[in-house]
Symmetry: C2
């Protein structure tokens, strides 16, 4: 029975070894999984981190940097002597080395002292959130006139650390134009004497280097790929994106959408420093507050009405809030469905019709409920009718806004998640107060008796 | 240059072939990627779907079912003659065949007529959202005394369609107890005469069959695995989970959290039928409405105060709303951080301290702003001071609720995303009205001048 990783105990060991016997530290660290080393590192104080780094060889340092989050990578890299760092970068996969170099001030001089500098350098020209920024250069490239047997034998002669994607063989012309692909199973099943051109598949799903990372994730998920090649406009194979990077994107993109809907900074996490959290949350709340004053100005228009019957104020927050929540339900579904590629801009009217029907139904259910309760509670049929009608109409506002806001934002090139939720609440507050207090003003003589 | 998949055109072709020349349909469908076939199928009407199914052979039907969403799978399976369906199930990976069988009324008789019935049957005992429910039986199992060369030769003799995970070799005892693992690269690099026991790695990250799918996803992502073996308590290897299933889980879990925060049914998507959307959204809005009446009851306590100065009502929604939004920011970060495994229950007090500091800061900023504006606008220093203080205090309520609600729900074994967002808004409404109107009542003689 194989041992299960035992993370918490290992962490204890390392912390005590850092204090007691630094000489045993290196061998204790070598026994750990790289991911666990990275997690332990992130939990240490500054002086312990320096000791920790000293105990690691270049390959272990490389795997440490590879498994740290981007913020930690920069901080850790700054603590490593430059010659040792160049060795560590050589030990990393090319895409991760490029990610680290992208945030270092002395990337140019490091590239020159790296053995794999020439491989990594081309990756630095692409934006991190594009296919080019995600791809690795660690793939196997072969010619169509190579035999299956020779291709398989390549696994013995190539450097393991430089080949990340070992299960696909990319078949290219001498100019590196992608012609086809074969996986290692297909080669193992084929006659070793056959040529790759006879064995390879020619229809390869691929992306251009400027493709958005979300689009890459959709393709990998849709076609259940293990790697997604990145191909330039002239057909040149530039690199390939691995499925583990795609998993990270799926997680990050989902977190982003969720945080944006709630108006939280996308780079924030639970234990971000206080100052950072303030900087990230206050702007959105300020925007919110400014809009809330617009709502307050609406109420202010009707203080005479409220003066004549304060009872009206009781149902004011409910009419705004209930529709606001209904609008957020709609907006959330629209935003997420667009992110997953299930809904497109061309579906606008179809979706609007559906949400209107839904809004009218919800409006009838909750408008009638509110109307009846308000009537029974306050003994005034006009108040009941007005509150119920206002909620019904505001539900239609919510449906319209829930569909229109995210889709309009997408149409205009903005991220639909960013402000759809806020705008929606603001609009339902605004319209809720206006409709309800407006109707109440018209019928005030019937309410204030 | 390989052709890029051309989905929209293919879809047009199929739709017109369905109408004009059904005999050419089969060959047109055979040229399409299985995923695209599934997407086209989902866009067809009932009679076209039946024609579509008739044009597919068992293997193509299997890949169709495999790529349909669960709801569509059940509907499509019902349209297929039983003998053809058994053949299609045989052509599917064992985990997908099990998923389809799980929703069919006549699963037992189908299992008996399936060639792979014995392989698939054990998978039916596990819940779909556990490791057991996710795992496939399509892996390569070998003995430790087999040579590397013989192991590689297995790729030639085993049935391709029955082996989904071809890049890992799981080494087990004759009782199927997992002893180690080797990937195909390690075997290709090793001397073919060596024994697997000498080449395999013994520390294999694995999960028990009842492990939650979210836990499986964390492990795969954390250790960047391509497959995660499922091992029974006695060490028996039961199956393995592939990374494409993990990607689907990451997507589904993120959508779930997001939808639950917004109070949307987790099985809903943008074009769910109207009736289904109503059934899924109305219960949550009803709950919301019930709570809103509690808020209304609070306001009702203070109608005398509002009668004396209707101006007070102007700032009421803002004090509740601004704190409600701040609380949702906090709750969203806590829920998502717990889902990603970045925050644990033991971090409760640390997180609460941080969010209190943050809440106090936000409260000072926005409380002061509101206080000053209210004072200048309405020319009443008491009204300004009361509104500002109420917002400050309600921000502290929001911070407390944003941390306590999701963590308490998790502690009690509930899903923290389910109702954290709603409760948070309700609590800030409730407390906002109570604090603001309470303070206004105490100082009413200073406000109503």
């Amino acid at each position: 029975m194989p041992a299960k990783y035992s993370f918490p105990e290992a962490s204890q060991d390392v912390v005590s070894l850092l204090k007691q016997s630094p000489e045993e530290l290196a061998s204790a660290l070598a026994r750990l999984h790289p991911v666990d080393r990275a997690i332990i590192f992130q939990g240490l104080g500054e002086p312990e981190q320096v000791k920790f780094i000293q105990a690691l060889g270049p390959a272990e340092l490389g795997s440490l940097l590879e498994h740290l989050t981007p913020e930690w990578r920069t901080a850790a890299a700054a603590k490593i002597p430059r010659d040792k760092l160049a060795g560590a970068l050589d030990a990393m996969t090319s895409d991760d080395a490029a990610d680290v170099l992208q945030v270092l001030p002395d990337a140019d001089s490091l590239l020159k002292s790296m053995r794999s500098g020439e491989t990594v350098k081309p990756l630095l020209q692409y934006k991190p959130e594009t296919a080019g920024g995600l791809m690795t250069r660690g793939f196997i490239e072969v010619r169509p006139d190579m035999t299956v047997g020779d291709a398989l034998a390549l696994q013995r002669t190539t450097d393991v650390s430089s080949v990340e994607v070992y299960y696909y063989y990319y078949v290219t012309t001498p100019d590196h134009v992608l012609e086809g692909v074969a996986n290692v199973r297909e080669l193992l099943r084929a006659d070793p004497a056959r040529l790759l051109s006879e064995v390879m598949r020619r229809d390869v799903v691929h992306v251009p280097p400027n493709a958005d990372q979300e689009e890459c994730a959709h393709l990998v998920q849709r076609y259940r790929l293990r790697a997604l090649p990145v191909v330039a406009e002239d057909g040149t194979l530039l690199g390939t994106i691995t499925s583990d990077d795609i998993m990270d994107i799926l997680t990050v993109e989902a977190t982003e959408d969720m945080y944006k809907m709630a108006g939280v900074g996308i780079k924030e996490w639970a234990f971000s420093p206080l100052g950072e959290s303030i900087r990230r949350r206050v702007p959105w709340l300020s925007f919110n507050m400014a809009w809330a004053f617009a709502g307050a100005a609406i109420i202010n228009l009707f203080t005479d009405t409220l003066d004549r019957a304060a009872t009206i104020a009781i149902f004011m927050p409910m009419i705004a809030g209930q529709a606001g929540n209904a609008g957020i339900q709609t907006a959330t579904i629209v935003v997420r469905s667009m992110a997953l590629g299930e809904v497109h801009l061309r579906d606008f009217f179809k979706l609007l019709r559906k949400e209107w029907a839904l809004g009218a139904t919800k409006g009838l259910i909750f408008g009638t409920t509110l109307g009846l309760i308000a009537y029974v509670w306050k003994g005034n049929v006009y108040l009941g009718a007005i509150a119920g009608t206002a909620l019904f109409l505001n539900m239609l506002v919510a449906s319209t806004a829930g569909v229109m806001l995210p889709m309009t934002l997408r149409r205009l090139g903005f991220d639909p998640a960013t402000i759809a939720g806020v705008f929606d609440t603001m609009l339902t507050d605004f319209m809720g107060f206006l409709i309800y207090l407006g109707l109440a003003t018209i019928f005030i003589s019937q309410i204030a008796k």
